[in-house]
């Protein structure tokens, strides 16, 4: 039998019914707000408070201000050091102070931070010796600090690879009965890497206490956000992993800390990972070696000065009367002293023993490395003779 036109045309035995059935939305509690969370206007005046994001204690905000000011000064000093040839390269995070410092303040000392090359300010804000933080960028061969001592992974350059490390570390800690939270700093561009996907998914599947903090500063070197995603917001990626997500005005220090406090509390409570996107902006070139005139114009950068996170927090704290001229001056002095100390300590080229090349490749050098070390040792001896 073949289908007769009649049979085909015969109306289907269906009743029409309105489009979608009303069912409970399984994405409830996972989706971010439609608009970035904001607690301060750009001018620093307060917005109405909101129950979902209680404002952090004012002491915390004042401490945040202090570290942001010192952090910005540190950042400027580091950029200056590149000009003096004391640093091989430096990626500035000027403009991202609220994010850099907010992440650190939301954490306990025994939590683990997984930073990128962009987080030098965050690390100094965490209390790591700035000279150690800059060791690698100075041209030395290691990350400077002892990651296990300061609970901070080496600054990560292969983009997004730290996401899976954080998932593993966080799972391993809870596996061993510790309530450590792992905090991942990552950029907008790096969210395009497969390792971001795998890291967030591993954390979600294993309910690992990780906070993924995306600093969306609009650019991956020269590539604008529009080439990284077609989504309304990077925070919309969370729901695909069953991970609650939020977006926040990354230049609103009060909102950043409020949102990160909630995210960290969520992770610490054993509810699994949390994803936060902070909308911010990198005021400096990608690094001192970058030529930003090729991909963005001065006006765009200027426009962001009005949203300066430090000025914003300062005027709010002055309004709250926990900051006055004297305090501002005092903190500015502290920042200057911090920079001066760094400048001085960086004033020498570090010297490194060539034979250290063979250390820490393996716990014990292999016979091949011993052989190569002896050759290098002989070469060095020879040159010394010549020089003598």
């Amino acid at each position: 039998m073949t289908t007769t036109p009649q049979a085909a045309r015969r109306a289907s035995p269906r009743k029409r019914r309105p489009a979608t059935p009303a069912a409970p939305d399984p994405s409830a509690g996972l989706m971010p707000q439609a608009e970035p969370v904001r607690l301060l206007n750009s001018d620093g005046t307060a917005l109405p408070s909101r129950p979902d994001y209680p404002e952090p204690p004012v002491e915390a905000l004042r401490e945040m201000y202090r570290r942001m000011v010192v952090g910005r000064r540190f950042d400027a000093q580091a950029t200056a050091l590149t000009k003096q040839g004391r640093l091989a390269v430096y990626p500035s995070s000027r403009g991202q102070e609220a994010c850099q410092v907010g992440g650190v303040l939301a954490l306990r000392d025994d939590d683990w931070v997984f930073p990128t090359y962009r987080e030098s300010m965050a690390l100094t804000a965490r209390g790591i010796d700035p000279v150690e933080v800059l060791t690698l960028l100075r041209g030395d061969w290691h990350c400077g600090y002892d990651p296990t001592a300061v609970r901070t992974a080496p600054q990560c350059t292969p983009l997004a690879t730290q996401c899976v490390h954080a998932a593993g570390l966080a799972y391993g800690e809870s596996y061993q009965g510790r309530d450590t939270v792992a905090f991942v700093y990552i950029g907008d561009g790096a969210t395009s890497e497969g390792d971001f996907h795998e890291g967030v998914n591993f954390a979600a599947v294993f309910k690992a206490p990780v906070v993924f903090f995306v600093q969306n500063n609009r650019y991956a070197i020269s590539v604008p956000l529009s080439r990284q995603t077609a989504a309304p917001s990077l925070a919309y990626k969370g729901v695909g992993y069953g991970v609650p997500s939020e977006q926040v005005d990354g230049n609103d220090p009060v909102a950043v800390l409020a949102v990160l406090n909630r995210a960290v509390a969520h992770a610490r409570a054993g509810k699994g990972p949390y994803l936060v996107e902070a909308h911010t902006y990198r005021m400096e070139p990608h690094t001192n070696a970058d030529d930003q005139t090729r991909y963005r114009d001065a006006e765009e950068v200027e426009a962001w000065r009005d949203r300066d996170p430090i000025a914003r927090l300062e005027s709010y704290l002055r309004a709250r009367e926990v900051l006055d001229d004297a305090a501002v001056a005092e903190i500015a002095e502290e920042a200057e002293a911090y920079a001066a100390g760094l400048r001085e300590r960086m004033n020498t080229k570090p010297t490194v023993d060539p034979l250290s090349l063979f250390e820490h490749v393996y716990a014990q050098p292999t016979p091949q490395l011993v052989e190569q070390r002896e050759q290098v040792r002989a070469e060095l001896a020879a040159t010394q003779e010549e020089d003598a």
């Binding site: 296990t148 998932a167 570390l169 591993f202 393996y362 016979p367």
Partner: protein
């Protein structure tokens, strides 16, 4: 001393390691209830619970990166890559993190772990299931690369790899999984990093590792009839490489053929040949020859026997070791065939 398959010996090594050290965790794809597609993790989840042996999301970079994090937290991860070619997604994690973390942190952060990779062919596998990928890892400083050829070594090398302070890529020759042999599950064989003479001989040395070792031994047997007494050295640990054992053997025999299953170009066999001629030049009566897989993508089951180093190919190479002290006719012509 008991007789068992290499698969069983590997399984016993994992179980014993988990028993001796509660920091050891085993994970990967299908390693839990299924016990792995080759059953190497068979029964571990039932015995040690699903926290000690568990399945992960299907993502190899994730698996290796997760292991990095677990190692940072103080655990001892042993991960399984389901097949050789399916470890490639993890290459960045392996080359840029696993291999380098100790160095980048001046030893402050070591990530001891074992990455188990079933590799090589001879099992009639379809595409992407039979790659020989050991050279990629051997060329990456910071990694140790180990491959057992016997049941006894499978057990002891895996135990040693798990105890080792450095990350170890543990290459398991698939085609030997179900070959039986004797293993003393309490003893270790040679210390880590030592090659071993599997068969003494006077006339020439066959250097082989992993799946090529049985081929070399078989060839040595067959060579008897041709009147050649061949020594067979099993490399065991590609990194660190045991120059002493190999060089001593070749200096004694004066002739050497390197046998590997992987495609030859820029493979581990090239390194061995280069090292041997550097160190044994004046002892050599002939160039160091190589018998390796062809420089092609691993072929289909129907054709793999043509690709794989065979006893005949090894014997052909041995025959070319200039016993009559005449140069190898193949290279006599002034220009190379092209």
């Amino acid at each position: 001393m008991a007789t068992m398959t290499m698969a069983k010996a590997l399984n016993a090594a994992l179980a014993d390691a988990m028993l001796d050290d509660e920091r050891v965790v085993v994970f990967g794809e299908d390693v839990g209830q299924l016990g792995g597609v080759f059953r190497i993790t068979d029964g571990l989840q039932a015995r040690f619970g699903d926290k000690r042996c568990f399945d992960t999301p299907l993502a190899e970079a994730g698996i290796v990166g997760f292991a990095v994090g677990l190692a940072m937290s103080g655990l001892r991860p042993v991960v399984e890559m389901q097949f050789d070619a399916f470890a490639y997604p993890a290459f960045e994690q392996i080359a840029s993190h696993v291999a380098k973390l100790r160095n980048r942190t001046r030893g402050a952060l070591s990530v001891p772990m074992v990455i188990r990779v079933p590799y090589a062919g001879g099992i009639g596998g379809v595409e992407h299931h039979c790659d020989s990928s050991e050279a990629y890892y051997a060329h990456t400083p910071g990694l140790k690369v180990v491959t057992p050829a016997t049941v006894a070594d499978a057990y002891s090398l895996l135990r040693e790899a798990i105890d080792d302070p450095d990350p170890v890529v543990f290459m398991e020759p698939k085609k030997l999984y179900f070959a039986s042999g004797d293993a003393d599950l309490s003893a270790r064989t040679e210390p880590f990093g030592r090659a071993v003479v599997r068969r003494p001989g006077r006339d020439a040395t066959l250097v082989a590792y992993g799946p090529a070792v049985p081929v070399a031994l078989e060839a040595a047997e067959a060579a008897r009839e041709e009147g050649w007494d061949l020594e067979v050295v099993d490399v065991r640990t590609i990194v660190p490489f045991d120059d002493a054992t190999v060089v001593a053997s070749v200096r004694r025999t004066g002739r050497c053929v390197v046998v590997q299953e992987a495609q030859g170009f820029a493979g581990v066999g090239a390194e061995i040949a280069a090292r041997v001629q550097e160190r044994c030049f004046h002892a050599l009566h002939a160039p160091v020859l190589r018998v390796a897989g062809l420089d092609i993508p691993y072929p289909a089951p129907m054709l793999e026997h043509t690709h794989l180093p065979s006893v005949d190919r090894v014997l052909d190479a041995v025959a070319r070791l200039q016993w009559d002290d005449q140069p190898d006719s193949r290279w006599l012509a002034d220009e190379v065939p092209a």
